[in-house]
C-alpha cells in the first residue's frame, strides 16, 4: 500500500462524510460500498473500516450537538443504548459466521430502505412532541427490541445504524426529528465499539484502510456541514436516493454472484 492508496481511501472517506453530513446519515453507508465495490476490499474488512468511520462521525457530530445544548437527550439515549450495544456486539461476532455474499445482500436491502426513507423524508410532517408526552411501556419495549436490531445491523454491516435509529427515536419514542438525529449520532459510537470486538478478534480491522478513511470522513463531514445550507435539499435527496438505489443494485448483483 503506497501514498496514492492512502489518498484514494481518504478521498472515498471525504465523499462518505460529505454525503453523510448532507443526508444526515453516518459515513458507513457510503464508505463500506466504496471500499468493497470500488477498492475491492473484502466486505468484512470494509465493514470493520466502516465502523471506525462511524466512530469518528459519532464523536465529532455528537460532540458538536452536545456543545450546542438541547438537542441530545442523553438519559433517553442511555435507556435504549444497552439494547443497541448488545446488538452491536452480537452483530460483530455473527458477521464472522456469515459469508460475504450474505453481508452484501443485507447491505443491498438496507441501502434500498435508506433510499426510500430519503425520498419520503421531504414530504413527511414532523410528529408533534406532545402527541406522546408520557411514553407507554410498550413504546419503550418496542424501542429496545428495534434498537437491538439496529445495533445488530450496525455490527454486521459496519454502518452507524442511524437510518434505523432515527425513525425509532422519532416515531416510537416521539422525539423531535432534529433531536432524534442528534441523539442517534450520540448513540452510534457506543454501539460501534462493542461491534468492533468481533472484527478485531478475527484481525479484520485493516489499519492502513481505516485510518485514511477516518480522516476523510472527518473532513467530508465538516465540509458537508458547511455546504448544507447552501444547497437545495430536494436536488440533494433525489441525487442521493438514486446513488443509493444504484449501489444497492450493484451490491445485490455481487451477492447473487457469490451465491
Amino acid at each position: 500500500m503506497d501514498f496514492f492508496d492512502l489518498v484514494l481511501t481518504a478521498g472515498g472517506g471525504i465523499l462518505a462524510g460529505l454525503v453523510g453530513a448532507l443526508m444526515g446519515l453516518g459515513g458507513g453507508l457510503i464508505a463500506v460500498p466504496f471500499l468493497n465495490l470500488g477498492l475491492g476490499l473484502p466486505i468484512h474488512e470494509a465493514a470493520a473500516a466502516g465502523l471506525v468511520s462511524t466512530l469518528v462521525v459519532s464523536c465529532t457530530a455528537a460532540g458538536r450537538y452536545l456543545r450546542q445544548g438541547g438537542l441530545v437527550d442523553v438519559y433517553r439515549a442511555l435507556e435504549i443504548e444497552l439494547a443497541a450495544a448488545a446488538g452491536g456486539l452480537a452483530g460483530g461476532f455473527v458477521a464472522g459466521w456469515l459469508g460475504g455474499g450474505i453481508i452484501q445482500g443485507l447491505f443491498a436491502l438496507v441501502m434500498l430502505y435508506a433510499g426510500v426513507q430519503v425520498v419520503r423524508s421531504s414530504s413527511r410532517p414532523e410528529r408533534p412532541e406532545a402527541a406522546c408526552r408520557d411514553l407507554a411501556r410498550w413504546r419503550r419495549c418496542l424501542a429496545g427490541c428495534l434498537c437491538f436490531l439496529a445495533g445488530m445491523l450496525s455490527g454486521l454491516l459496519g454502518i452507524g445504524g442511524g437510518v434505523i435509529l432515527v425513525p425509532i427515536l422519532h416515531l416510537v419514542l416521539c422525539m423531535r426529528f432534529k433531536s432524534a438525529a442528534a441523539t442517534s449520532n450520540f448513540m452510534m459510537g457506543m454501539t460501534a465499539v462493542p461491534a468492533l470486538c468481533g472484527f478485531v478478534a478475527r484481525s479484520e480491522l485493516v489499519l492502513a484502510v481505516s485510518i485514511p478513511l477516518a480522516l476523510g470522513v472527518l473532513a467530508g463531514a465538516s465540509i458537508g456541514a458547511w455546504l448544507m445550507p447552501r444547497l437545495r435539499a430536494s436536488w440533494l435527496k433525489i441525487t442521493f436516493a438514486l446513488l443509493l438505489f444504484a449501489t444497492a443494485v450493484e451490491m445485490a448483483a455481487r451477492a447473487l454472484e457469490a451465491w
Binding site: 459519532s58 464523536c59 438519559y75 442511555l78 459510537g189 457506543m190 478485531v200 489499519l207
Partner: protein
Amino acid sequence: MAALDRLARHLGALMIGGSLLGVGVALAAAVVLVALGSDLADWRMGLDGWWRGPHGWLEAIGGAGILVLGATPVVMLVVCGVQALRDGRPRSVLTVLGILSVLAVGICLAWISGP
C-alpha cells in the same frame, strides 16, 4: 437533567478532542510509515498485536490512536454514569454499568475466540 446539561459542553469537548487526537496520532504514524517505505498491506489490529512490521513502534503508535478513538465514547459513558449518580438516577447508573459490561463481554469473547 440541568446538571447534565451543564456538563454537556464538557462532554462535547471530550468527544471532539478524543476523536481528533485519536485520528491525528494514527494518521501521523501512517504517513511516517509510508514515507519510510513500509508495506502497510498487512497492518491489521488483532489480539496478537499490530506492531509486527520493521517499524513496530510506529505501528504501535498508529494502533494506539485508533484505541484512543475507541476509548472516547467509553470515557464519555463513564462521565455520564458519574453524573447520573450525582443526579440520583440509579436506573441510568445501572444502564451505564450494563453498557460497560457489554463491552467487557465483547473484549472477553474476542480474547477467547482470537488467535
